[in-house]
Every structure is written in structure tokens, then in C-alpha cells.
Symmetry: C2
Subunit: 159 residues, 2 copies
């Protein structure tokens, strides 16, 4: 496990290597992302969290930074169909993709930390001549706890 400071340093280096500048606003934004690794935050969420420590920052800057980080493959931009894009830091090993379970009762999004699709990606290549560079797998349904009306655990973070 790499420390936050080390990750930050690495991200900054990647920025500079591609000819982008390292700014305090970008650093503040990256810090928030590092501290909320798998929270699926919207741009607005990130903005509010960054603003706590850097009140002068503008929303557009956060948008631009998230866009840049996505371009650098440091951040993953997702879309769960609720009208807002969500952002998460990409884990160190880019290969290791994860999947999502989206609860239709409480709206909570939970992760499956495995990659279950390597075989299927080979199949796509074989059968369709399609070379997969990335994928996305979401399951929609309900957690056992939610089905019983007792979805406290998943609901409290949702709202």
C-alpha cells in the first residue's frame, strides 16, 4: 500500500510528464479523491469537499481537473443513469477492474473488487474481432437486507 503523499507525488509527476501544470487547486482536488477512494462522488460532491479546505476554488476548475485526471487514466468516470457523472480514483493496477451492484431499493452502489470478465473479453475478441480495452459491468437488483425492508446499512449513505 502506497501512502497518500506518495500517490499524490506520482500523480503530479504524470501530469507534468504530459505537459500539464501542477497547481494547488489540482492538488487539493486529488487529495479529496485520495481520501474518498471508492465513494463514487459526483463533481458537485468533490467540489464541496475541496471547498472545505480551499474555499476560493471554482466549480469549473473541479470539472476541468476531473476531466484531466480522467484523460490521464488516473480517475474513472462513471455514469449510473441518474444524470450525474461520478468519479473514482483508479487503483494502482489498472488491469484489476471492478464491477457494481446497484440497489434499486436504496440506490446504494457497492463494488465487486474482482474482475470476472477476462474470459468474456477473449470471447468478444474471438467471436467479434473486437479488442477490449475496458469494460463496465453493473448489476441492478436488491440486497437481501433491503428486500426485507431493513436496508439501514445500505440506505444511510445513500439518500
Amino acid at each position: 500500500m502506497i501512502s497518500v503523499e506518495e500517490q499524490l507525488k506520482s500523480m503530479k509527476q504524470q501530469m507534468i510528464a504530459k505537459g500539464y501544470k501542477s497547481t494547488v487547486q489540482r492538488e487539493a482536488t486529488m487529495r479529496v479523491l485520495l481520501e474518498h477512494e471508492r465513494d463514487h462522488m459526483s463533481a458537485e460532491d468533490v467540489y464541496m469537499r475541496v471547498k472545505e479546505r480551499f474555499p476560493e476554488i471554482g466549480l469549473a476548475t473541479v470539472y476541468r481537473t476531473l476531466e484531466l485526471l480522467t484523460e490521464l487514466h488516473l480517475v474513472e468516470k462513471m455514469n449510473f443513469g441518474d444524470g450525474v457523472a461520478r468519479f473514482d480514483l483508479r487503483s494502482e493496477d489498472h488491469e484489476h477492474m471492478h464491477h457494481h451492484m446497484i440497489c434499486s431499493v436504496c440506490g446504494e452502489v457497492e463494488e465487486i473488487q474482482d474482475d470476472w470478465l477476462t474470459e468474456l473479453e477473449q470471447r468478444v475478441k474471438r467471436e467479434y474481432g473486437f479488442n477490449v480495452s475496458d469494460h463496465r459491468l453493473d448489476f441492478i437488483g436488491t440486497f437481501a437486507s433491503c428486500k426485507h425492508g431493513d436496508c439501514r446499512r445500505h440506505c444511510e449513505t445513500a439518500s
Copy 2:
């Protein structure tokens, strides 16, 4: 294979059964969807096509109709992360879900008409207590033809 007229009739019946009214605007919209079964049209696309034959129709009506049809599970609403929702008629057999290949060169979306996920859905239930009612699987990558710079076939419908 059921004829367009028969499918239309069935859809109207389902509407009425749920207490909604059958209107000419809704019929015109459904007709367009029936004639573009797997085109992944945006609301705007549908609107323009409906307008050709029913020029008085309003965009909001198309949106409302698509929303209603989605609610009735007659239409599938999808989101490929490009900022617009896309709509397709659900095939007769609702079980038979399909997957998508999204080309990062030409933007074309193509379908895999199989359901490759039944096993994985059981695994989600076993390992996470999550009951899957639906899923979504997109592969992002490139078609062999596109990689060679010759992606005419896929590009011409993309724009």
C-alpha cells in the same frame, strides 16, 4: 416474428391495462421505435423521426412517452456516458439481455445478442446476497476494422 401492427396493438393494450390512454402521439412514437428496433436512439433522434410524420408533436411529449414506455418495461433506457439517454424497444423475451461493444475509434455501438451473465448473476447472489433483476455489460475497445484505419462500416452510421 410478430408484425409491427400486432406489436403496436399489444403495446397499446398494456398501456390501457395500466390506466394510461392511447393517443396518436404515443402511437407515432411507438411506431418509430418499432421501425428502429436496435438503433439506440436518443430522445432527440426519436423526436426528429416522429416529427417527420407528425410535425405538431412536441419534444416534451416524446420524452414523456419514452419515460412511460420505460416504466412499462416496453423500452430500455440506456446510458453510454455521452450525456444523452438512449432508447430501444425491449425484445419480446425480456430474459434475453444483450451486451454492447462500444468502439472508441468510431463511436459505433454494436450488440451481442447473447446473455453471457447468467452464471455471474448466480455468483453475485451467492457471494453478496444481491438479487439481480437486470444488468448491463459494455465492452469498450476497437473493432479489428477500425484499428486498421478502415472503419467505414462502423463509422458511417456514427457521424
